[in-house]
């Protein structure tokens, strides 16, 4: 009984330190809030920028909901209707697509810089774990949203991804080997990717994931406000600036510039112009899969290794990285920021190489012309 009370007391103390609600007052959150100035200060904009792109996605997503129809017979036609006939529909749809890529880019950059700056050090573990969850949710948003236009590349890429999930079961021991297949069946909802899958992805994309995201984002932002900005560098920063009014204004300027950038992209360059046209024809269940099916660029870091290396090796690597992502505050508790920065740079280099040169590496290794 005594041990139980001790455990409970420790849990309460832990939560008290992690979410110090006594700091929730005007003086702490507004008057006293400061942002350290040092060589990594630029990274303090990335969280806000990610939030900004998320807000763009929420607004443009709601706009698209007015016309999008989530059925296998109408989904593709409704997207075409939006881009061809709805006033500014092309712009809203293209903005949603471009901003999704910007959002994931910012999410990755925010996670990498937060890692390098050791922004997960106690008492910020909950902020990090919440952020890691939102990174996963961000990818889930991308994955589920990709299917919704119901064109050739969308449906076929989803089929391949779900089949990969199924395959992973072969490398698991005993009764857990059936779990990936079971998860795939739940996600897919039918014998193949079809109406059931589309309905599920739609529900996930527009209801479940946003609700999850709002909850975690609320906790993430609240914790950041209560703890203030992380120190960011090993030596205590000598200078700082006030969040209100200075940093917030700079933050808004960054948002403005980002919006201008994504606005110009959305008006000028259809996101789909990076792919061959046949990919964007309505999905045809009775025909061959078009050549060159790929996921979105932000999955290349996992896609190309899957193409090049043995499946089990990639799955093992991904699992280790997944565990490390969520255990970072405890695994790297005593690591210096210098070492963390080197690790973050290695990860960045890996992401850049796989994203830009994955196809070339694949062709060299496999001796094929993609």
């Amino acid at each position: 009984m005594g041990d139980k009370n001790k455990g409970l007391k420790r849990l309460i103390e832990f939560m008290h330190d992690r979410i110090p609600m006594h700091k929730f007052n005007f003086e702490n959150l507004v008057l006293k809030k400061e942002v350290p100035i040092h060589r990594m200060s630029w990274a303090y904009y990335l969280g806000g920028l990610t939030l900004f792109f998320f807000l763009v996605q929420v607004v443009t997503g709601i706009f698209l909901l007015f016309y999008y129809q989530p059925t296998v017979s109408d989904a593709h036609a409704s997207i075409e209707y939006i881009t061809k006939y709805v006033n500014n529909g092309f712009f809203i749809r293209n903005l949603h697509t471009w901003a999704s890529s910007c959002l994931i880019l910012c999410l990755m950059a925010h996670a990498l810089t937060a890692f390098a700056m050791k922004a997960f050090a106690p008492p910020r573990e909950i902020i990090w774990v919440g952020g890691a969850l939102m990174l996963v949710i961000g990818f889930a948003f991308g994955f589920t949203g990709y299917l919704l236009p119901w064109h050739q590349i969308a449906v076929n890429a989803t089929k391949v991804a779900l089949q990969s999930l199924d395959e992973s079961g072969h490398y698991l021991p005993g009764f857990i080997s059936g779990i990936p297949h079971y998860i795939k069946e739940i996600i897919q909802g039918g014998p193949d990717v079809g109406q059931a899958t589309l309905s599920r992805f739609f529900a996930l994309h527009v209801v479940i994931l946003p609700l999850l995201c709002f909850g975690i984002l609320g906790l993430h932002l609240l914790s950041v406000q209560l703890h203030g900005m992380s120190q960011g560098v090993d030596d205590l920063p000598k200078k700082s600036e006030k969040f209100f009014p200075f940093f917030i204004l700079k933050d808004l300027i960054v948002w403005g510039v980002a919006f201008l950038g994504v606005f110009i992209l959305a008006v000028g360059i259809p996101f789909e112009s990076f792919y061959a046209f046949p990919f964007f024809q309505a999905y045809n269940a009775l025909g061959a899969t078009p050549e060159g099916i790929k996921p979105e660029w932000y999955f290349y870091f996992a896609y190309y290794p899957l193409e090049i290396f043995p499946f089990w090796l990639v799955m093992l690597g991904m699992s280790v990285m997944g565990v490390l992502l969520f255990m970072t505050p405890w695994v790297f508790k005593k690591t210096s920021r210098r070492a963390l920065t080197i690790l973050a740079l290695i990860m960045t280099a890996y992401l850049v190489v796989m994203t830009f040169f994955g196809q070339a590496i694949y062709e060299i290794v496999k001796g094929v012309k993609g």
């Binding site: 006033n87 500014n88 076929n156």
Partner: protein
């Protein structure tokens, strides 16, 4: 770091008084407020028109409707295929004469998966699953000079006679063979082959001429 709540050090390291701070904030807030107002004026009208009725020409309306009907028909066709597979014990694939050794005919098997039918050197059918055993893409229908078909997703090549993947292909297991039978126009079953390749009936091409190729529900368990 700041010494107190009133003053602090700016980016350039100068001390800034509270009055300057307030003035800077008011100026910036005014600037942002004005730009937001102008932005709203410019963009709100445009954005709101997103929700207004679309002024479509007669041709556009016709095009939209015909495309919609075409898609609905395609969906209906797929659902009819599904119903047919639930209710019928055997399904027509194609006439034996229409099979080709170099280009397969796509059809949907009992598990609603794509499959391909070719003709062999002796003129008899080759019927195999078209769902790649690697990651489930639909393999191509064109046969190369070595008698193989290609999965376009990860470049696995499969021999159509054996279903086996070529060396170096990401796919490691063969495309499953499907059981089939040939029936003449009078409803007589002339030749049957189970998924294991065992045949029963006549292989005389003269007798088989004009017959049609079917797949059987009772063999569908072996197709999974």
């Amino acid at each position: 770091m700041t010494s107190n709540n009133q003053d602090h050090i700016s980016d350039e390291g100068k001390e800034i008084k509270v009055d300057d701070e307030k003035r800077a904030f008011v100026k910036a807030a005014f600037g942002i407020g004005t730009s937001l107002f102008l932005l709203s004026l410019g963009s709100l009208g445009k954005l709101l028109s997103f929700f207004s009725k679309q002024n479509l020409t007669k041709d556009q309306q016709e095009q939209i409707l015909s495309e919609k009907i075409q898609r609905l028909k395609q969906t209906t066709d797929e659902q009819e295929l599904q119903l047919e597979r639930l209710s019928k014990d055997y399904i027509l694939v194609a006439g034996l004469d229409s099979l080709s050794p170099i280009k397969g005919i796509y059809f949907i098997d009992y598990l609603m998966r794509p499959a391909l039918a070719f003709s062999d050197d002796d003129g008899l059918p080759i019927v195999i699953s078209a769902k790649c055993t690697h990651l489930g893409c639909t393999v191509g229908q064109n046969v190369d000079e070595q008698g193989r078909i290609l999965c376009p997703c990860h470049m696995s090549r499969f021999n159509i006679k054996t279903g086996s993947p070529a060396a170096g292909s990401p796919a490691k297991t063969p495309l499953p063979r499907l059981g089939w039978f040939l029936m003449d126009t009078h409803g007589n079953i002339l030749l049957t082959q189970n998924p294991q390749g065992k045949q029963s009936g006549t292989t005389d091409m003269d007798k088989l001429a004009g017959s049609s190729l079917y797949i059987l529900k009772k063999f569908s368990g072996g197709e999974a």
